[in-house]
Amino acid sequence: MMKKFIFPLLLCLLLCSCYDATEVDDLAYVVALGIDKGEEKKMKVTFQYAVPLNISGGVDSKGGESAPLFSATFETDAIHLATDIANDKMAKITDLSHLKLIVFSEEIAKDGITEFRRDLKEDFEIRPDTSLAVCQGSALECLEAVSSPLELNPSRFYEDFFANTASVYSFSQDISDFLNGKTEFPMPYLIYEDALEAYGMAIMKNDRLQALYFPQDTVIYNILRNTFTNLKFETKQGVFRLDSRLPPSIKIETLDKPKITFFLSLTGEAVAGEETLFSDSKKAEQILTQTLQKRILNFLYKTQKTDCDILDLYKHARKNFFTEQGFINYNWNEKYKDAEFFVQISFQNTRVQ
């Protein structure tokens, strides 16, 4: 009895349904998304699609010359409308589930990116580890400048480009903070001439581009965020190789003028430069800590001047309060402007005398 019912039922369901089922080969996967300011409408959205036939097995069958990427640009008012237009114009369905990078042009970042939050948040397809970046000039040109001779697969290029901890001048900012409503955060600033390059940070405040920092600031940002290994740090006297020994800790005294102290614990050694760096470990330590301290303080005061709490210092300040109301009454945003910064560095020289 049961079997008699189950099988026809299954068949019926198979025939009438599968609402969400889509074949892999019916989809066109976007690996990078570029957003430029539009001329007639709000924005120009560039989808950079992966071309699977040229990525896997394409090398031997087509001589390895055909491009693994293909871009299409649509002028619309919202990202969702752009996918609709793309679906109209192409046989395959545009799919954002393998999106690796979203690039905003500088112009659109200055105008504000708040509306994209709503647009992107609705889409559960977009992974939380998608990277965000701002680029000089046009996002379309930026994406077209991508060439990845080492990787067959462009999506891997995007993944590795930002996740690369060996590079001190780049960092990765994923989309989850942005989607969760954070309005003060840095994004990598991309420039392109021959190839794509991360050059400094674009600081966002209230979803608007507030300031651009230099690549040197990125180094300090990476040190303070503890996202570095084998960092080469330049001083006037020579170059040091640094590793972190303990994660940096932050202590904040919430007085009228907040006192913010950073404790850094590093290990490393001199790798190039004056002879004293190698012979006198005390001296080397002194040189490093002084330079580093100075540069960190410079960086911190710079963030304070541009009024951006990109290191999430407010989270540490919250520790001193029992309730959220207490923290709100303290008015951190105002007080932060008058904060004083201190840096303490303990450095362990690994060079054996």
């Binding site: 889509t22 892999v24 993944e159």
Partner: protein
């Protein structure tokens, strides 16, 4: 004239032309042939007995039933009744006919015959024809003597049989290589050879009203729980069927739930597995004519165990068990998961692999579901066919069929290579299932999972797993839940069922057997460790 005949033949052709047309009548009940009542007492009259026997066995039409008339001690008439081919001719000649015919002083009294003349170890006497016929059908030889109302049934069974072979379905590398054959005396002897204990009881129960197939019920009387024995006897005694010939049939007659997706008795071809089950406190059934023993009660983990697990050192045994579990799970789940992922959850696939899949799928005209079903069905056909193909080319058909069809299908763009990999993995995984009966289950459920995965993606798979578990956990094997290991309150845990402990840790019998003796070995079995 000749040509007209030929033309006539051609144009007026009818297949039954010129033949006697016979149609088998299946509408009216057949005419019943009367048989003399076999439930009679043996008469003292020689002729009467001879007449009844000839009538019952429809002699002389029946060519393999033999009646040998002769004189005992040259004075008393007697005849032997036996089935040609079932008895050992040598013993009949030398041990029965020899002394009776050749010794002139032979007497025909009951005492003389029983005590001195019949040179055989197994003799029983009977006064009923019913017993006589049963014994003759089983391969005994029966002696009727003029003037005696008792017949002697002499065990001279000696039919042709297959020798002991390695078990076909349960081969091992470590461990004994002998398996049961179709003769149940040999089978019970094999078990007794393994156990060598006087407490092993081998009761014979005849099953089937007409077939009277002997069935041996084995247990160890000071270990097995008497309730279990009583229950199985109750079930065996209450089968009302005419013919039972195979262990598989018997299993279906006595199992708890016949629609279930899992076997509830363990079938094994191996005497060592049977013996160790008996020692565990379980019972075993061996049916005449079947090379399989049925073991109950069992838990689900017993279906996932091979005898080798006990013989191999325990770390390797556990590694093999783990790998086998993965194989078994993939044998029913992998295709469903593949369909679910490919149709619903693309984002799970790493980008590299996804682009590779997309590139190969680009040229394939079918949907992923269609190509998977195509391959699954053709794989099952190959498997089914390679069983029937004569053995020398059978294995070649399996391998070549699989390889060639797969290769050709890929190059013809009928299916994508990834689908072939999935189907091959499922197929190989299903061979990792040690129990043949369970293998069927997983082959069947695999299709259900494919459909569920194709309809609802992971949601369907989740529902499938859940319902599968719910249905399986309903089942009982002789009153013991198949999932007895799960969340019970006694000392056994799931891990202790699924994996093996080191040999010195296997101190207690499984608690679900509830045996008379719980201890299997001493707390410290390797006494030499203590100095």
């Amino acid at each position: 004239m000749k040509t007209t005949n030929l033309l006539k033949k051609i144009f007026l052709f009818s297949p039954n032309d010129g033949q006697n047309t016979y149609t088998f009548n299946t509408h009216t009940a057949p005419e019943k042939i009367s048989i003399p009542d076999p439930n009679q007492k043996i008469s003292t009259q020689y002729e009467e007995n001879l007449k009844l026997v000839s009538e019952v066995y429809s002699l002389p039409e029946n060519s393999d039933i033999k009646i040998r008339e002769f004189l005992i001690g040259q004075h008393t008439r007697a005849f032997l009744l036996f089935v040609e081919g079932l008895v050992k001719d040598d013993s009949v000649n030398t041990n029965i006919l020899g002394p009776l015919m050749l010794l002139p002083q032979s007497s025909s009294t009951y005492q003389a015959l029983h005590d001195t003349l019949l040179l055989n170890s197994q003799i029983s006497d009977t006064t009923s024809f019913r017993t006589v016929f049963d014994d003759v059908n089983m391969g005994n030889c029966v002696l009727f003597t003029d003037g005696l109302d008792t017949a002697f049934s002499i065990d001279v069974k000696g039919w042709e049989r297959r020798g002991l072979d390695a078990p076909v379905t349960e081969q091992v590398i470590y461990g004994p290589h002998e398996g049961f054959n179709e003769n149940f005396k040999v089978n019970t002897a094999l078990i007794r050879k393994n156990i060598r204990n006087e407490n092993l009881v081998c009761e014979t129960i005849c099953l089937g009203k007409e077939s009277k197939t002997p069935c041996a019920l084995l247990y160890i009387k000071n270990i097995t729980n008497p309730d279990l024995i009583q229950e199985i006897k109750h079930r065996l005694d209450h089968i009302d069927a005419d013919y039972i010939y195979e262990a598989g049939e018997l299993e279906q007659f006595i199992e708890d739930s016949s629609f279930a997706l899992s076997p509830q008795f363990l079938t094994t071809e191996r005497p060592d597995t049977t013996a160790s089950a008996l020692i565990e406190g379980k019972i075993a059934l061996i049916l005449h004519g079947s090379p399989f023993a049925l073991i109950a009660p069992v838990s689900f983990s017993d279906f996932l165990t091979t005898p080798e697990d006990k013989y191999v050192r325990f770390p390797f045994a556990n590694l093999m068990k783990l790998i086998r579990l993965i194989g078994i799970v993939s044998s029913f789940l992998l295709s469903g998961l593949y369909i679910a992922i490919v149709n619903f959850h693309h984002e799970m696939i790493p980008a590299d692999l996804l682009f590779a899949i997309e590139a190969t799928r680009e040229a394939v005209p079918f949907t992923a579901l269609m190509e998977l079903l195509l391959m699954e069905v053709s794989f099952d056909i190959i498997r089914e066919a390679s069983l029937r193909v004569p053995s020398p080319i059978g294995s070649t058909v399996g391998i070549i069929g699989g390889l060639i069809i797969g290769q050709a299908a890929v190059s013809a763009n009928l299916v994508s290579p990834i689908a072939i990999i999935i189907v091959a993995l499922t197929g190989i995984g299903s061979f990792a299932t040690p129990n043949y009966a369970l293998n069927f289950t997983f082959r069947f459920t695999r299709y259900l999972y494919i459909f569920l995965g194709a309809i609802w993606g992971f949601l369907g798979i989740a529902a499938g797993i859940f319902m599968h578990a719910a249905v399986l956990s309903m089942l009982n094997s002789l009153g013991v839940s198949l999932f007895t290991a799960l969340a019970n309150d006694n000392r056994d845990t799931v891990l202790s069922y699924l994996f093996q402990k080191p040999i010195w840790k296997r101190e207690l019998r499984h608690s679900y057997v509830n045996a008379q003796k719980t201890k299997l070995q001493a707390k410290i079995s390797r006494k030499w460790v203590e100095k």
